[in-house]
Symmetry: C2
Subunit: 523 residues, 2 copies
């Protein structure tokens, strides 16, 4: 579609006058030449430009059309999950998609093309056959929540700049406390950027609770501390203890604590995991709570992955004892399917978060404001300002109700069970564990023909170790599905399938198995 | 608009059949009764529901219409900045806006109403008369970037799940390194959630650089360390040193270092601030770099707020010496007007970030993948997974070019200068500092009539201290503009005006002054 001669003269004149389009020109272009305007407009024609309303509307509308097309594609089984390119390919610029940053502005046409390309070369994490991460799926309501959040573009800092979001945080956290089972008079918390940060908060809180002097006098004013966790934890936490099949053994925890004491360390904190990253194992929370009580230790439960199961009457039994924890990490962006990022640290004792982290900088938090300044939550945080992560969860909760979350989580665990029984019956697959999965993690090896007849041995293991990476390479290059693999302790590379996408159905599980066989049988 | 009798029967039947609408019904409702469908649909009618495409499109489209209306209103001077309500009012539920979370799903109609209400009771941080925070404005391209980011819904964890964003991060960070003035062979970094986290990274890096043993043996394996900063810093950093009018005095820094040494502490780190939060002051970076070099200390520059000035040929002189820093905090979500959140920690020495923070958990980062795993940046981070914060900045850079950022930043500083000269001429206002502002911060007192005739004294100060909070209360209740105040050291409550919104013009500055006088003259 070409511009008329008159259009061109009009535009040239306007560009000379203003350095870009004058806004009247945008309006007439929009009216008469829908579609061409983008190539002649730059971002300075958008709001806040005077009369930039129409161009803004058209630009955002065209972006939304691109996003809608992407959403449809993401949720369609006939689409690929990804169109893989190596880093050097993307960096060289594919079909005009250049990552380099210019000194001069690009026009809106080019920006829309860039948006399309960015999505094209990315990974469709909402695709029903994307099994690669703990966070999968594309919840439309959650997405709507994120679009609104970014439009509101504010900060969880004070009530004065985020009145609604601050109150929503209170409401959602209270709901989560009651689901954990804390009495109404207890319960505090904060949304923060990811499970590792949540766990960091819990360590800071436990340390401060035991030795408040650490805040003013630092680490050298307190004895050497010891914290305990199983070896299968979520990144951050570092020290000691024992496990079997992913679970903490409470008797061994007890003796680890005694050993630490005998070495002159001061035990102060135990991290129990509810849903480990790879196996999806749940530590025995009540036993650990007993030990913590006996030794006077802070009990933290990392339920980043497993927390969602609390919403299921069928599965919440796996977290029995969580109500005895002093603090809990729970990431709604995992099992609850909330868009990234949405993570919480929940604390039983009210006020501790504020006491531990506040710096009382009056230049940030003025005590003489006209509303109740306890709603200025910025001083609870180690971040000062925080991104608004609560709204999408709040909106999803309104949309689904607790019952909707329950149904969605049960569905994911049913998929895991389906995969488990399917693999159990086959001789070309081997489960990493005999038992039924507790969470939606299913860990398994695929045995190509030539390995099926070899008895387990170090040689076979060396061969088997190469199988998953080879299949994954082909899988990514072809792009129809995606699943992760890893070694763990004495176990060579195995696949871990996780289900958190409500869009995934049994046919997708069947597809995954067939695809692994197709790609791997000749290896 | 009412449904026909036939519609109703149709719907009732369908609800009985499926528990909600069957999708065929949604399609026909959409076709024939546009507008009514929302009240009969719930989120389970949206994708991934079979044939949920139309309902999804309509729902998101209606949301976008709400967002577009909000955007227009936000940037219109005739709109209020906020419609203030006290916490108890919002919690009680205003005109049906209830924050409480249900067990049963709400329908899509209700969700759209909730979205409208959430925006209605919030604060328009993009409004040209919102002067309350360092992050203001609503950049349409940045917003488009955020909408796309949330639709892509992935994680800055590995190249395999974020190929495009990972490479964009590299490109944008490289651009920022070159703007700082680091040689091409240097430069590393990461996007992280806010300036305080960026500063935390710098402390961890400096400590690890000096004492790598801290990573494996902890704080008790290293001597007591001392870090130095001015008293006007950005939240986090805690210890010692001196200032005047917000600037660090380098001779006093030197003697603080000597004193720390004489007490047996090991100085290791100096934080210089480029653009303090309240005054917008710049520490003398070259002098501080000399001292750091002399003592062998890590030099960090917190340019969270001031970093944007590096893009201005006119103003970058204020950061001279920043190229000598070992690390820099720079928040594009402040002076560059990028939507929240967008913050970086930039590190001169390549590889240190990875060495310092990596845990080499093979269950997270597999070394045997088919692409160059140095692009799996998750192990550089203390967070493990990270929100994608780079795309909106990348897109804005494409849209504006470096020159567009320069123009926008110069404009903000011109507004500050305009306000400064305006206040300087008036007797009812008093500037907190004599000199022209270095950044876009302008700090001042307003003197109501009865205080104008009183000579400065402790009594007058006590009265003056009450003025800003009283004006702020009225200002928020009326909602036409918003500006922050705070006391600082020996100075009683004063207003701080900051400019980071390119939409703000001189008429808005005039309005602010008139509004303060209108609300405060009788106090």
């Amino acid at each position: 579609m070409e511009l008329t001669q008159a259009d061109r003269q009009h535009l040239d004149k306007s560009k000379q006058d203003t350095g870009s389009l004058g806004n009247t020109d945008v309006a007439s272009l929009l009216q008469h030449n829908n579609g061409k305007w983008r190539a002649f407009c730059v971002c300075s024609d958008l709001l806040p430009a005077e009369d930039g309303e129409e161009a803004t509307k058209h630009f955002l509308q065209e972006l939304v059309n691109i996003l809608l097309a992407y959403i449809n594609k993401s949720l369609k089984r006939s689409s690929k999950v990804l169109d893989f390119h190596y880093p050097h390919q993307l960096k060289e610029g594919l079909e005009g998609f250049s990552l380099e940053l210019p000194d001069q502005p690009d026009n809106l046409e080019q920006l829309l093309v860039d948006c399309r390309d960015t999505l094209k070369y990315g990974v469709k994490t909402g695709h029903p056959r994307f099994f690669n991460q703990l966070s999968t799926g594309l919840d439309i309501i959650g997405l709507a929540g994120e679009w609104l959040t970014s439009t509101a573009n504010t900060n969880m800092f004070t009530y004065e700049i985020s009145p609604v979001f601050i109150l929503m945080e209170e409401v959602v956290l209270r709901k989560m406390h009651s689901i954990i089972g804390w009495p109404e008079e207890d319960g505090d918390g904060i949304f923060c950027p990811g499970g590792t940060m949540s766990n960091l908060y819990s360590v800071l809180l436990a340390r401060f609770h035991l030795f408040p002097v650490v805040k003013t006098h630092g680490m050298s004013a307190i004895p050497r501390l010891a914290l305990f966790t199983s070896a299968h934890v979520h990144n951050l936490i570092i020290v000691s203890s024992t496990l079997s099949g992913g679970k903490m053994i409470s008797s061994e925890l007890n003796s680890s604590i005694e050993t630490a004491k005998s070495k002159g360390l001061v035990p102060f904190y135990v991290n129990a995991t509810a849903g480990t990253t790879v196996y999806g194992a749940f530590d025995p929370l009540n036993e650990i709570a007993d030990i913590c009580k006996h030794h006077g230790l802070w009990m933290h439960v990392d339920a980043a992955w497993g927390g969602g199961l609390l919403l299921s009457n069928k599965h919440r039994v796996k977290l029995q004892g969580i109500e005895r924890a002093h603090s809990v990490t729970w990431n709604p962006h995992k099992m609850m399917g909330v868009p990234l990022q949405c993570s919480t640290i929940l604390v039983k004792k009210k006020g501790l978060l504020q006491e531990c982290n506040q710096l009382c900088a009056e230049y940030l938090f003025q005590p003489d404001k006209h509303y109740d300044v306890s709603y200025d939550t910025g001083d609870k945080s180690i971040q000062c300002g925080r991104h608004v992560d609560v709204f999408k969860l709040w909106l999803m909760w309104k949309a689904k109700g607790s019952e909707g979350f329950e149904a969605q989580i049960n569905h994911c665990l049913e998929n895991a069970e389906y995969l488990y029984y399917k693999l159990k019956r086959r001789s070309d697959f081997q489960l990493v564990f005999k038992g039924k999965p507790e969470h939606s993690n299913v860990c398994f090896w695929y045995l190509p023909k030539r390995l099926q007849s070899i008895l387990p041995s170090p040689e076979r293991d060396r061969e088997l170790h190469m199988v998953a990476p080879k299949i994954k390479t082909k899988m990514m290059e072809e792009g129809f599905t995606m699943i992760g693999y890893q070694p763990l302790e004495d176990k060579v590379n195995f696949f871990r399938c996780v289900f958190s996408n409500p869009a995934t159905q049994r046919e997708d599980v069947d597809f995954l198995i067939d695809e692994i066989v197709r790609l791997g049988c000749e290896l």
